[in-house]
């Protein structure tokens, strides 16, 4: 394997993200390549420097990154982070502008930065208290590597996943935190369907609201989006929620999800919706949605069409 091909893999190797076969190939190459060994050392120094400069990151950043990645994979489109006012978007824009000129190294540097950010976020967003668990005996293990060690010994790296069963009432903070994580992070859509369905009947805290808004707008699965929109009913008068519902109404491909959105939007109609409803009357293929919009416009004494 050439150094050129292996260099981009070194950051992944450092964070233990390479598949076992690739890791083995890279390690064999390292034994004979001074240049790549020094690249690994450089990677270690970079990671150490980043470790020393920890910065506060928003809660749920890791979940958001993973969610965006999953969305992109499912829908085959570029990840689009939701637009939000505040310090974090400004930081992202500044970061992008700073590195705009370094187009040649943008991809590998971006990969390193994303991995590092993800790692920090995982560290920072891990619950601090211990969650009550019932230990289970089920342990899944994969042998990651085997290598000879000194004095005739052998070193075997085993990755182990231990299953735990966590139980408690829905009102329990730890349970709710796990449900939120499941709604955002799980690559298993069935888990997201179930968790959003359970969150639907819970009080809507800011964190729950954020998760539901993201799911309503971005989840690749229509059942998750549908449940998320239904769950937003108690906060349907909120401006941020209405913005997302409007977006869903205009863009969601599933008529059931759009129907739930228009139902919630017209329950709290106001003058700012006129343009949206006029567009919907002209564009939506579903007669229920068009009629519901028409009726709302009539009741607001607004014209049905645009001139």
């Amino acid at each position: 394997m050439s150094c050129e091909r292996l260099h981009p893999l070194i950051p992944l190797y450092h964070y233990g993200e390479l598949p076992p076969e690739e890791e083995e190939r890279l390690e064999q190459h390292l034994e004979s390549c001074e240049s790549c060994r020094s690249e690994v050392e450089r990677q270690k120094r970079l990671a150490a420097a980043l470790d020393a400069r920890e910065m506060p990151l928003p809660d749920g950043l890791l979940a958001e990154c993973r969610h965006e990645l999953m969305r992109a994979v499912y829908r085959g489109e570029a990840p689009a982070l939701p637009r939000r006012a505040g310090v974090w978007p400004a930081f992202r824009e500044g970061f992008a502008a700073l590195f705009a000129s370094l187009s040649r190294v943008r991809v590998p540097a971006g990969a390193v930065a994303l991995i590092a950010l993800g790692w920090f976020a995982a560290r920072l967003t891990m619950p601090t208290e211990r969650i009550p668990v019932e230990p289970a005996d089920v342990v899944y293990s994969t042998i990651r590597s085997i290598r000879p060690a000194a004095a005739g010994r052998v070193e075997i790296a085993v990755d182990e996943t231990r299953r735990r069963v966590v139980s408690g009432p829905l009102e329990d903070g730890d349970i709710r935190r796990l449900l939120l994580a499941a709604a955002r992070e799980q690559e298993n859509p069935a888990v997201r369907v179930e968790s959003v369905g359970l969150l639907k009947d819970q009080p809507i805290t800011p964190m729950v609201r954020e998760v539901l808004l993201t799911a309503a707008q971005n989840d690749p699965n229509p059942a998750v989006r549908l449940k998320a929109v239904e769950a937003l009913k108690p906060v349907a008068a909120d401006t941020a929620v209405r913005d997302v519902l409007a977006q869903v109404l205009l863009t969601d491909e599933n008529p059931g999800v759009r129907i739930r959105s228009i139902d919630l939007l017209v329950e709290h109609r106001d003058g700012s919706m006129v343009g949206l409803l006029q567009r919907v009357v002209q564009r939506d293929s579903n007669s229920y949605i068009r009629l519901k919009s028409e009726r709302a416009l009539r009741e607001m004494n607004a014209s049905i069409g645009t001139f």
């Binding site: 994969t142 690559e187 298993n188 859509p189 369907v193 229509p222 059931g256 949605i289």
Partner: protein, 383 residues
């Protein structure tokens, strides 16, 4: 002679009567009523622009009442708007038509009482709910451009369509074909075949007598009992089947699958979620991308060649001690032979490359049961 003149004048009066404009809460209201004779063989179509309630009765006539409402600054304005409301009854090509024109009214609710046993009845409204009960027509069509559909007790076959809104059925003796672009579909009992389709929403039916197909673009599907073949698919959501007396075909893009009893075979696929199959026999094929599978095979019912597979999770098969079957189980990427656990001495386990494989013949052998896991543990248990 005078009496004859009076009778002639009365006969010339229109069947419909109308009320003055009255006030109800924030609305001005005008109510129109009418009675029309309908022969027993009549085919009736009702076309309206608001909510419709239709009830069957043992009489040979059609009675209707239309209540039109509007908001207006004053009575004169209200009267002008409500006078444009009209109801026309006509007969063309063997079909009777009752057509409601809402005119300037904000809404117009129609109530109908029709002969119970009309051969065919179709109620179509531009918007608003449709509610039907007490009918024994062979063919009943209920359609709304926007609104819920409720059907109570119907003897015949039903077609229910709405562009948005729930469909709620009580006791349907015949077949039912229901579709909504978005909304839940619920039914207590459908005696014949059923096709239930929603663009997004749950499907929940206690019992279906005949063949059935239930589809949701995203939502849970629950069928308590299916009398014959049942095909279910959902874009995401749990599938729960109590009992199926025919072949079961289940597909979910995301969600758990639970089957109480399926003695005539199951095809089951989910892109994510556990699968739990109780009391199954016949041909069994179940696969999930992520999730555990539990399959409990029936004693005293023949098993056909079957296949269980998960890409991530455990598989548990409960086999009656007297069932004749040949087992082939393979578990990839496992760390040791403990990843296949068997209660049967006849099943031997060995490592073949990256796989742990367990094979054996139970009770002299029979159809092949293949169990394929990736990671996780395969349990082959005696029951």
């Amino acid at each position: 002679m005078r009496k004859l003149c009076i009778l002639a004048c009365l006969a010339a009066l229109p069947a419909a009567a109308q009320s003055a404009v009255t006030r109800e809460d924030d609305y001005w209201v005008r109510t129109l009523t009418g009675v029309e004779a309908l022969p027993p063989e009549a085919r009736l179509q009702v076309v309206s622009e608001g909510a419709v309630v239709v009830t069957g009765a043992d009489e040979a006539r059609l009675r209707w009442q239309l209540k039109a409402r509007t908001r207006a600054e004053g009575e004169a304005e209200a009267r002008r708007r409500l006078e444009s409301v009209s109801v026309k009854f006509s007969k063309t090509a063997g079909k009777h038509l009752l057509a409601v024109h809402r005119g300037g009214a904000a809404d117009a609710g129609l109530k109908l009482v029709v002969p119970r046993s009309l051969p065919a009845l179709a109620v179509i409204t531009r918007e608003g709910s449709v509610n039907a009960s007490g009918l024994a027509s062979d063919s009943i069509t209920l359609a709304s451009g926007a609104g819920a559909i409720h059907a109570g007790r119907l003897e015949g076959n039903l077609v229910a369509r709405t562009a948005g809104g729930a469909i709620d059925l009580g006791e349907i003796r015949g077949s039912a074909r229901c579709s909504t672009a978005g909304g839940n579909i619920t039914a207590r009992h459908i005696g014949g075949n059923a096709v239930l389709e929603t663009g997004g929403g749950d499907v929940d039916v206690n019992e279906i007598g005949g063949d059935a197909r239930a589809e949701s673009g995203g939502g849970r599907v629950r069928i308590g009992r299916a009398g014959a073949q049942l095909v279910v698919s959902t874009g995401g959501g749990r599938i729960e089947i109590g009992e199926a007396r025919g072949m079961l075909v289940l597909r979910s893009a995301a969600g758990a699958v639970h089957v109480g009893a399926a003695p005539h075979g199951v095809r089951c696929e989910t892109a994510g979620g556990p699968i739990h199959l109780s009391k199954v026999a016949g041909s069994l094929r179940a696969s999930t991308t992520i999730g555990n599978i539990v399959a409990q095979l029936l004693a005293n019912r023949p098993l056909e060649d079957s296949f269980l597979s998960t890409a991530r999770g455990d598989i548990t098969v409960l086999i009656p001690s007297n069932l004749s079957v040949k087992i082939h189980a393979a578990n990839e990427l496992s760390g040791g032979s403990r990843r296949i656990v068997s209660d049967f001495a006849e099943i031997t386990t060995q490592v073949r490359g990256a796989q742990v494989v367990a094979e054996g013949v139970l009770n002299g052998g029979g159809p092949l049961l293949r169990i394929i896991g990736t990671g996780g543990t395969i349990f082959i248990k005696r029951q």
